[in-house]
Structures are given as C-alpha cells and as structure tokens.
Amino acid sequence: MRKNSRLPNFHNLGIHLRILLIVNLLAANTAVLFSKQLTEFLPLLAELSAVVQPILLLSMLVLYALYPLINKLPYWLGIAVILLLEISLTFFVFVFFNKLFLFATIPDPYRACLLTAIVTSIVFYYFHLQQRAYSPAIAEARLQALQARIRPHFLFNSINAVLSLIRSQPKRAETALEDMADLFRVLMADNRDLVPLAQEIALSRQYLALEKLRLDERLKVTWQIEDMPPDALIPPLILQPLLENAVYHGIEPMADGGEIIVTIYTRHKELHIYISNPYSAQNQHLTGNKMALKNIKERLSLHFDLEAALRAQAKEDRYEVHIRLPLTR
C-alpha cells in the first residue's frame, strides 16, 4: 500500500498536529505585527483566533473526510482542489459569521480568502520541503534495511551449520538452504510497501528454523498470536530483525539458552507487538549494535509518523521491545 500521491496523509494525526502548529504560529505572528504594544498582543490574538480556529478546524475535518478522494488526484491537481476548498470554506465562514453577528463594519471576505490562500500555500510548502528531506531517507532506508538485516555473524554461522548437515542429514540441509533462499529473497526485495502480518510471521519462522539449527535446544520460542489479525499491514522486516536481536543478545550469550516470547494482538484499532528475551546485564555482547532498533524506529515513523511507536526496556531478567502501530488492512 504505497501512497501513490505526494500529498500529505490527512488521515494521520501527526500531519494535523503540524498544520495546527503552523497556522497558529502564523496567527500569533500576525497578532504581534499588528499590536502596537505587547499588552495588545493577547486580545488581538484572541480576536484573530475567533476567526482562524473555526476555519482551521472545519478544513481539517473536511480534508480528513475527503482525503480518500483527493489522494487519487495527481499532486498539482490535488493542491489546486485543496486551495479552492480552503478559499470557499473561508468565504462560507465569513458569510455565515456576518449573518450571525451582524458586524458593524463588515470585514472584507476577499481579503480573508487571499490570506487563507497564502497560509495554505505556506503549509503545503512546508510539507513539500519535509518530503524532500525524507525522500532520500526512504531510498536509504531500503539500503539500511538490507545492511542491518544481514548480520554477517548470522550468515556465516548458518552456512557453517548447513555444511555440517550435508554429510549426515542431507534432507535437513536441503530445507535449511531453502529457508535461507526465502529469507534472502525478502531481505533483498524492494521493501517499501507494507506487507500482511502473516507474511512477516512466516518469514520469521523460517529465520528461527535456521537459528534452531545452530542453537538447538538452547533456543525456545513461544508465539502468543491467537488474537492477531493475519491480514493487518505492517512494514516488512519489522519482526525478523527484532527476533535476530533477541537471539543475538538474549540466547547466544546464555550457556543454557532461553525463551523468546512473541505476543501480538489488537486493541482500539492499534496493533501491538511484544518481543521479549532473557537478559543479563553481565553477559552482554560488547559489540552489540543498536542499528536494528534505530532502523525500525525510522521506518515506522516514515510510514506512520507519530501514530506508531517503538519502546525497548530491560526489566530485571528480561528485555522487552514493544511496537504499537495503527491497524490497517
């Protein structure tokens, strides 16, 4: 589900917060400009807000409602439609206000419409710049995803494990190589589009089968995913790298291994993913990197802005990563 338009996603809370912030900043700026003394600033701002906020909130509502339609349009046409929408909204609000309050001196609605057009353009310019700043990041994220995924340690140890099977258990060696092929096919794919959760889980299971080959009974995995919606869409390679981290930091340093617990469920239209592994401050790989976590965080915010979050914390003898993201299908 790649966004086919470069228009801001008006279904995203983060976008709306940014719009609120920019418009109110501009309003405050205007209030400062027109107040001769600082004491005039607040009354002036309140006066401005009485007009600005209704228009602002109304347009945010309308944009939210119309987003699925607008999003189908080409970028420039979309901008033009939104500009027109904003201007007519402003006009409508002014006419309505005039009827309601019967202003003594009727404010000129055309002047207000011009102002709205300017403010809307500024907001769009901001989103345009923000996108420009992110677009190399998207391309880079793909590369990073690739690099962060293939821990050379895992690759070479797995090849070594497969080699050890060829003489004694050729059948198992075959399966292992097939799993590796599948895993690397995904790792090397274009990973910008969201994928069904079930697909990511299948990949994770193949990955864990390979690790099981090396670590044997030291690696135990419990899946608590009965309540998971298999068709929920998530960015690819969110789960697998976290499991790789869990194995690398939580299982390998322990002589007797341990258990990784994966819990996935939905609540209030949000998907929750928990991954927990044994943890001991003393038996840590010194050379552990925070690359995977950072990379996943970046990709989550590219896809969902503020609506997704990743939190990692060590509690006593377990380390837990929690991901929260909006439920999309």
């Binding site: 070594n160 494990a161 080699l163 050890s164 002589a255 038996n283 050379t287």
Partner: protein, 259 residues
C-alpha cells in the same frame, strides 16, 4: 599423533570441525567443549597439543580461555575460529595470530595445523576478551589451573607481592597488580582501603572498632595513616559468609556514611 580439543557453543559447528579433522591424518580429538570454561577444565584433564577455540561463546569467550590456557602445563597451541568478528579479527591481524574463518576449508585447516605454534604470551595479552572484563581469574596452583568466577570473589587484597583472592570457600594467591584489577573490575568492586578491593554485594554492614581489636590488621596500619593515635577507633566492613572484616581507610569513610 596430534591431540586436539575443540570448543564451540554450536553443535553443528563442532560436528563440522569433527568431520573435517576426520579427513586429516595424524590428528585425534580428545575433548569437545561448549564454552571457554569447559575448554579449560577439559584441557587440564586431557592435556591436548592444540586447542581450536571459537571466539564467541557463552560463559567465557575464546579469547579469555586462550589467556587462561597460557597457565596450563604443557602449554597448548591455540588456533581461533570465528564466523565473523570484525573487532577480534582486527586484533588478530595486528598481533599476527592465526585464526580460521568459518565455514572452514579443509586445506586451510590442514595448513594451520601444520604450522601450529604456541602463541607468545605477549600476543595473547594484547588481545582483549569480547566481554568488558574477564569472567574468571585463573590461579596456578600445584600444576593445576583453578578458575575462580569473578562474581564469587568477596575481596581482593594486596599483600607483599601477591594478591589474596577471597571467596566464601577459601583464599587463593595470584600475581597481579591491584591497580590493574581495579581498572578491569572497577564496576564490581570498591576500594575500601589502599590495599583492598571489596565487592559491595558481599558487604553485610559497617562497625566501629578499636584498631587493636580489629581481627584483620592491615599490613600498613602502623605506617603513615594512623601512626599518630594507635587507640583510634576505625570503621570496618563486615562481610557476608566469612568471619574476617576489612578495615576502611579514613579517605574512604564517606562510603560508610553514604549507606
């Protein structure tokens, strides 16, 4: 016949090494270990000519095991094996230490075995274990090497040219410098006295005692610090599980107040 000990935490990796060594004439595997500590214990029993040590292992990594192995008699040759460890490999290259990259090729293993030479202690010392500090101290005692887990050590006390290592069971002597140990294990021990590092985990409490009554007279208690007043009362730390106490030097008495 060359006797070999192999150490790797992964069963398939050990199987692979066993297969390969089976293809090489004149070698025999005498022991297989799952971690560094087991490798040292088994090496003491089987006295192998050569140890093939994986670097990344739980409990004790291969580099630390190699360092402890320097105290074994006879000293085994050591070859490291690793799948990938940019940090360790760099250290090996710098110190011209032989290592094998997994997956290991038969010819490469053959060559390494042919030219296996004991590493010079200098080379081994230059390596840093993957962990921040050693997990064990190795004590050379009557031809044996005893591994004392660092977490069991109650205190380390400098006495003349030795350091006393005290665990709940007994005392050991090692030849190292207290400053060096403090640098390495600074997170685990506090310096209660100029000559003594104590693990706070084992401190049961503090008590004020007359210096003459103190069970543990510190060697330099009569030079310098408190020669002015012999009857002075001094704080001592009471320790869990053992009757001895450790005197706290005046400079460290703020530690008592902080608890």
């Amino acid at each position: 016949m060359l006797t070999i000990l192999i150490a790797d935490d992964e069963t398939p990796a050990r199987n692979r090494l066993r297969d390969l060594l089976g293809d090489i004439a004149e070698v025999r595997i005498v022991a297989e270990a799952k971690n560094g500590k087991e490798a040292i214990d088994l090496a003491m029993q089987t006295k192998p000519d050569l140890m093939l040590l994986d670097i990344r292992m739980p409990l004790m990594d291969g580099i630390e095991a190699a360092q402890h192995a320097q105290k074994l008699e006879p000293k085994p040759h050591i070859i490291f094996t690793t799948a990938f460890d940019a940090y360790a490999i760099k250290a090996f290259d710098l110190n011209a230490i032989d290592y094998l990259l997994k997956p290991i090729r038969l010819e490469r293993l053959q060559t390494a075995i042919d030219k296996a030479q004991a590493l010079k202690p200098k080379q081994i010392d230059a390596l840093k274990p993957l962990q921040k500090s050693r997990t064990h101290l190795s004590i050379h005692e009557r031809g044996r090497v005893i591994l004392v887990p660092v977490e069991q050590i109650i205190y380390l006390r400098a006495e003349l040219k030795y350091i006393t290592v005290r665990t709940a069971e007994r005392e050991y002597l090692i030849e190292e410098s207290l400053t060096h140990l403090e640098n390495e294990f600074g997170e685990r021990f506090v310096r209660l006295h100029r000559n003594c590092l104590v693990a706070p985990l084992f401190i049961a409490g503090y008590e004020k005692r007359h210096i003459q009554q103190s069970v543990e007279q510190n060697l330099e208690s009569n030079n310098g610090e408190n020669s002015d007043n012999v009857n002075e009362q001094r704080w001592v730390a009471l320790l869990k599980g053992i009757p001895e106490t450790v005197a706290i030097s005046r400079r460290q008495q703020h530690l008592v107040r902080e608890t």
